[in-house]
Structures are given as structure tokens and as C-alpha cells.
């Protein structure tokens, strides 16, 4: 849905303009047609509440991309929630060690559905150059990941591209809260 338009039906009807006792009807937004999945996806993709699981040097880049210069607020992914229960986007920023893996898993399990995971930086994506006793070789070994943003650290443009691609995925995805009662 990213880049597409909701089909807004413009009746264009101006009934009895200027006649006494008649009112002009507004010409737009009388009704629109869409698919339910598309509607919910459109709502969800612009209200991502990220939980920053920040462990290492990528945090500096996360601050840069959150701050005013690059400003993820423009894409609806601005307000970090420091409780996983209030968040729906888990941003794993930095290296995750074997010792930290149970904590990451617990944070992920505490998040309510729907939830998405972004692996921010090459360490979170694959373990990067850490292949040893200490590091987890990519967080997708323990939790499902929706989008990978590699780079050491990734440029802010890459992160923004990742966010927009995740939004695209959300908009095009199925949203199973939609059932026969809605």
C-alpha cells in the first residue's frame, strides 16, 4: 500500500447551490472503499511504538537516527516505549551475547501481538565478526526477525529505508484481528 492511494469516492454532488433552503454538501470524504486488511495495516504502519533493546555501539547510530537530523518521527516510528508491553516494534540494536539471549527472549515474549522485530546492525543480524564463545550469531537464532538492517553501524538512511520497508510489509500483510464480526 505504500505509494498507493486509498480510493476515495468523490460524489462531487453540489445540490441546489444558491437556492434558498438548500445547503451545499461538502464534496469529499463522504465515504471510501478499501479492504479491511488494508485499513488496519494503514493504521498500524504509522503507529509503530519501538522498544529499543540497545546493547552496544549501534546505540549511537540509533540516537542519531532518532534525533532531529534524521528524525524517524516523520515515519510514524518515533516514540520509544521503555516497556515491552507498550511496544510493537522491537529494535535490537547491537551485539547480543549468549548471556543476554534469555533476556532478549523474555522481552520479546512480553510484547503484545502484533509485534515486529528489526535487527539493527550486522551484529544483531548475523553476529557480524563475532564468531566465538560469547556472541549470539544473529538474533534470528532465538526470535523471528522481520527486517534486517546490516551495517557496522548502518547509516541513518538505511535505518529509515528499513522502517519504510517494514511499513510496506505491515501494510501488505494479513491482520488476523479482522474476522467475520468486523
Amino acid at each position: 500500500m505504500y505509494g498507493k492511494r486509498l480510493p476515495i469516492v468523490d460524489t462531487g454532488a453540489v445540490v441546489g447551490a444558491g437556492q434558498p433552503g438548500q445547503r451545499e454538501k461538502p464534496a469529499t470524504f463522504e465515504y471510501l472503499t478499501t479492504r479491511k486488511d488494508e485499513l488496519v495495516g494503514w493504521a498500524r504502519k504509522f503507529s509503530l511504538f519501538p522498544y529499543p533493546f540497545v546493547t552496544a555501539c549501534c546505540a549511537m547510530e540509533f540516537m542519531a537516527v532518532s534525533a532531529s537530523q534524521y528524525d524517524t518521527d516523520r515515519f510514524g516510528a518515533a516514540l520509544p516505549r521503555f516497556s515491552p508491553r507498550q511496544a510493537d516494534l522491537l529494535m535490537v540494536v547491537g551485539t547480543v551475547t549468549q548471556k543476554q539471549a534469555p533476556i532478549l527472549l523474555k522481552v520479546y515474549e512480553q510484547m503484545c501481538e502484533p509485534k515486529w522485530v528489526m535487527a539493527f546492525g550486522v551484529c544483531a543480524s548475523t553476529g557480524g565478526f563475532y564468531q566465538n564463545y560469547a556472541s549470539l550469531p544473529g538474533i534470528d537464532r532465538i526470535i523471528p526477525v522481520d527486517i534486517y538492517v546490516p551495517g557496522c553501524p548502518p547509516r541513518p538512511e538505511m535505518v529509515i529505508d528499513g522502517i519504510t520497508r517494514l511499513q510496506e510489509k505491515i501494510a501488505n500483510g494479513r491482520h488476523p484481528i479482522i474476522n467475520e464480526r468486523f
Binding site: 549468549q98 548471556k99 534470528d140 537464532r141 532465538i142 523471528p144 510489509k169
Partner: protein, 177 residues
């Protein structure tokens, strides 16, 4: 400018010639290896560690315990070399103590009685090399976790061996498009 203190240390702790290469033994328990990279180095037998460290602290003003670590020399009879670093905040000089221990009994005395800061560093050294510090009351893992088998900085630990706490999922591909 640091020479007078180094000379004093050399005379008091190791009466022999400076810059010796031999290993310390029962006859000469403390051997001075001279000044290396601005640090005065002593090699000593493990039983001399406590008295020498006590003299360094009480007589020579080495009031800051910097580090304890180890070196693994695989294949040698005394496999591990435990290295202590001390610093004097008044004279601004450093002293290094080295001692060799065998693989079968990698035990040295703990310095927690002299320096409180030694506790954490000895725990780390115990994690990474398996050196046992006799007298340290708390040698639980500090950087590693309970259940970790082996000592990762030993040369015979497999480089890429992982001991995950969370069972791994099967590999997944990128889900975007």
C-alpha cells in the same frame, strides 16, 4: 625520575642482578627482569606473591591494584603465567609480577585481603583461564554464566564453540518480499 624507586625495589626485593632471564626457584624466589616498556618486572614463585605484594603496598606505596590476568603457554611444563600489575599513585610508576603455575594445579594466593579491587579481577581471571585464587571467597562466574564448561581464553578452547542458553531456532530467511 623513576629510577631511584626502581633501584630500591630491585635491591630490596631481588638482591641479584637485574635483567635475568632464568625462572625463579627455591634458591632465588624473586628474579628481577628489569624495566620493560617502563614497567619494572619481577618473576617470582607463587608462594612469594603475598609477602611481595604486602611489601609493595606497605613499604613502597603501591596503593592501586591495576589488574590480574594470565598467559597460556601450551606445551610448557608450567603452563600458565599469572600476571599482576600494581601502580603507585604517589610515584606514578608501575610494577608487574609474574608467576608460573602448572596445569594440574593452577592455584595462586588471592590478594583480596590486601586489595579489595582484586576480587572482581580474580573472578574474571578464573572465568577465562581457570586459575584458582586461594582465599578469594567468591569465585562465581562474573562474565560467563552458570553452566559454561571450560575456559574460553585457554588456547585449547575451540574458537567458535558456542554454549547457548536459549535453544536455537532453525535458520530463517529474510521475510521482507
Amino acid at each position: 625520575m623513576t629510577a631511584p624507586l626502581f633501584d630500591r625495589l630491585r635491591e630490596q626485593l631481588s638482591p641479584g642482578e637485574a635483567g635475568q632471564e632464568g625462572q625463579p626457584d627455591a634458591a632465588t624466589p624473586v628474579v628481577c627482569r628489569g624495566v620493560q616498556h617502563g614497567v619494572l618486572v619481577f618473576a617470582l614463585t607463587p608462594d612469594r606473591l603475598l609477602p611481595v605484594a604486602r611489601r609493595l603496598r606497605d613499604e613502597f606505596g603501591f596503593d592501586l591494584f591495576l589488574d590480574v590476568t594470565a598467559v597460556d603457554w601450551p606445551g610448557q611444563a608450567l603452563r600458565f603465567e599469572v600476571v599482576h600489575h600494581f601502580y603507585s599513585t604517589t610515584d606514578k610508576v608501575r610494577v608487574r609480577l609474574k608467576m608460573r603455575v602448572a596445569e594440574q594445579d593452577p592455584t595462586v594466593d588471592s590478594l583480596t585481603a590486601l586489595y579489595g579491587a582484586a576480587g572482581y579481577m580474580e573472578r574474571e581471571c578464573h572465568d577465562m583461564y581457570g586459575i584458582v585464587f586461594r582465599g578469594n571467597p567468591d569465585l562465581r562466574p562474573i562474565l560467563l554464566y552458570e553452566g559454561f564448561v571450560g575456559h574460553p581464553l585457554r588456547k585449547d578452547y575451540p574458537k567458535q564453540k558456542e554454549q547457548p542458553l536459549v535453544p536455537y531456532l532453525p535458520p530463517q530467511g529474510a521475510l521482507v518480499r
